[in-house]
């Protein structure tokens, strides 16, 4: 618990939508005695306790690990996915980033490919369906090889690891003015294009994942680069450049 002088009050405007088929609207709330060290989600928890005490429906939002690694959380805060700080998840965002008395607008990650389920919860199943089309290795890669049997340069290994850092939260889509999933798809494709295990299915993977990304109704990329700023894992739009190279490469191999 935080000491009294370090607590703040906020005016909240939160998107409330009872279910996928109803229309939603912004509803105003007030909250006080929020600790500066509280995370954004803990602040919402606190709000929900108040709402339940008053017999109102709590605000639905998603979270799981609450330590920035699972990708479950994610809301738009004052128009920015995961809030004002770059490279952070909503669960890792602290209330000290907001001034006492400030109005905070909380809305869902918005894209037609991410339909709202309830309040701030969106269905990110589109990502799963893209992954199903090639975000894995399905050839028999054998049992675990002898260490260092597969020589992979340090730079390559690190670069693949940077792409693999994606937690699938969807902030790239939510931040993109075009609602494009290029960063998510690019990261998956680059991660596997860099490694030997990914070579066998490399061509088909690029074609199939792009096809699914388009079928899900994500927009096209205009190189605004907003996704990189919004990504909690700072995944570079270099991955989108790779996506284009891999797609072009596939044109000559399929």
């Amino acid at each position: 618990m935080t000491d009294a002088e370090n607590t703040r009050s906020y005016k909240l405007r939160i998107w409330r939508q009872p279910d996928a088929t109803s229309s939603g609207r912004l509803v105003d709330y007030e909250i006080s005695e929020v600790g500066a060290d509280a995370s954004f989600l803990e602040m919402l928890d606190q709000l929900n306790e108040n709402l339940v005490k008053k017999g109102e429906q709590p605000v639905a939002f998603e979270s799981d690990c609450r330590e920035g690694i699972c990708g479950a959380c994610g809301v738009c805060i004052d128009g920015r996915p995961h809030g004002p700080v770059t490279h952070l998840t909503t669960c890792a965002l602290r209330m000290r980033e907001f001034k006492d008395g400030e109005t905070i607008v909380v809305e869902p990650f918005r894209a037609n490919a991410f339909p709202v389920v309830k309040d701030l919860i969106v269905d990110r199943g589109a990502f799963d369906r893209v992954i199903e089309r090639g975000g894995y290795i399905s050839v028999n890669a054998g049992s675990a090889p002898e260490a260092n049997m597969l020589a992979i340069g340090k730079d390559t290994a690190e670069s693949a690891m940077d792409s693999a850092a994606c937690i699938g939260c969807g902030a790239c889509v939510a931040s993109c003015p075009n609602a494009s999933a290029s960063l998510f798809v690019g990261a998956k494709i680059r991660q596997m294009a860099l490694l030997p295990q990914g070579q066998v299915e490399r061509t088909g993977r690029a074609l199939a994942m792009v096809q699914q990304m388009d079928a899900e109704g994500f927009g096209d990329c205009s190189n605004h680069g907003e996704c990189e700023a919004a990504c909690p894992k700072a995944i570079s739009i270099e991955n989108i450049a790779t996506l284009r190279r891999e797609y072009l490469r596939a044109a000559f191999r399929s």
């Binding site: 920015r80 075009n178 074609l207 792009v210 927009g219 907003e226 996506l243």
Partner: protein, 232 residues
């Protein structure tokens, strides 16, 4: 499910297309700027230059049709990107803001469709005006090396004796600069050429490129208005 194939009209295919056509158009715009520097030299230099182009005969027609195709492909693929964006998010959040660096989202990147559309309308007018003599002047002739050739210099100078044309062209030039501020680096990214080392370089180069191209075309109408006269 049948194996998917490469599709030029997929999201990624369209970006390869806007990128390649954007790069080619930038090549054209630089060539056009360099050629038009002859306007600063005078009537003989400029008419000699345009006559040399006309001497290319069938090759020039091929180049012109190719250019028209480039513009069309660029515009169609870019407009399609914009239409898909509209389809991808039908409900907007009430507040939308950028996170700042490393985002490259700017007023320039957000208005590509506007600057581009105006450029398209301008290019059509521009070609009609000077290539096909929409407002007359197609019949102007002059002598170069004892040969009668088209006096395009006279048409250009007469056009830019009118302050309205001067102002209009200068305004479009600024929009071209705005288009290129985002377009330059974006085109290289679209064809997959940029990595984290090259990106800041391409982004800065884009600023320099946009200013040089815009400035080059910007001073031309003003110079002609102030200093150029048609030979008697």
């Amino acid at each position: 499910m049948s194996a998917p194939r490469f599709q030029l009209w997929s999201s990624v295919g369209k970006k390869l297309l806007t990128g390649v056509t954007g790069l080619a158009l930038m090549g054209f715009i630089v060539t056009h700027l360099l050629g038009n520097l002859n306007l600063f030299v005078g009537s003989e230099a400029f008419n000699g230059y345009t006559e040399a182009l006309h001497q290319m005969g069938a090759l020039l027609i091929v180049a012109e049709v190719g250019l028209a195709a480039l513009f069309l492909l660029h515009a169609i693929s870019a407009i399609q990107v914009w239409r898909d964006k509209k389809k991808a998010r039908s409900i907007q959040n009430s507040v939308v803001a950028t996170k700042g660096p490393p985002s490259k989202q700017t007023a320039f990147s957000r208005t590509m469709i506007i600057t581009g559309s105006i450029l398209l309308a301008f290019v059509i007018l521009h070609v009609a005006q000077f290539r096909f003599g929409l407002f007359g002047g197609l019949e102007y002739k002059t002598m170069i090396d004892g040969k009668e050739v088209r006096d395009l210099y006279r048409l250009v100078v007469e056009t830019f004796a009118n302050p309205a044309w001067v102002a209009g062209y200068m305004a479009v030039t600024l929009l071209l600069g705005a288009h290129l501020r985002h377009g330059f680096w974006s085109a290289f990214q679209s064809v997959g050429l940029l990595d984290p080392q090259l990106r800041p370089l391409a982004y800065s180069a884009g600023g320099v490129f946009a200013v040089i191209v815009a400035l080059g075309f910007f001073v031309m109408p003003m110079y002609l208005f102030l200093f150029a006269t048609v030979n008697p």
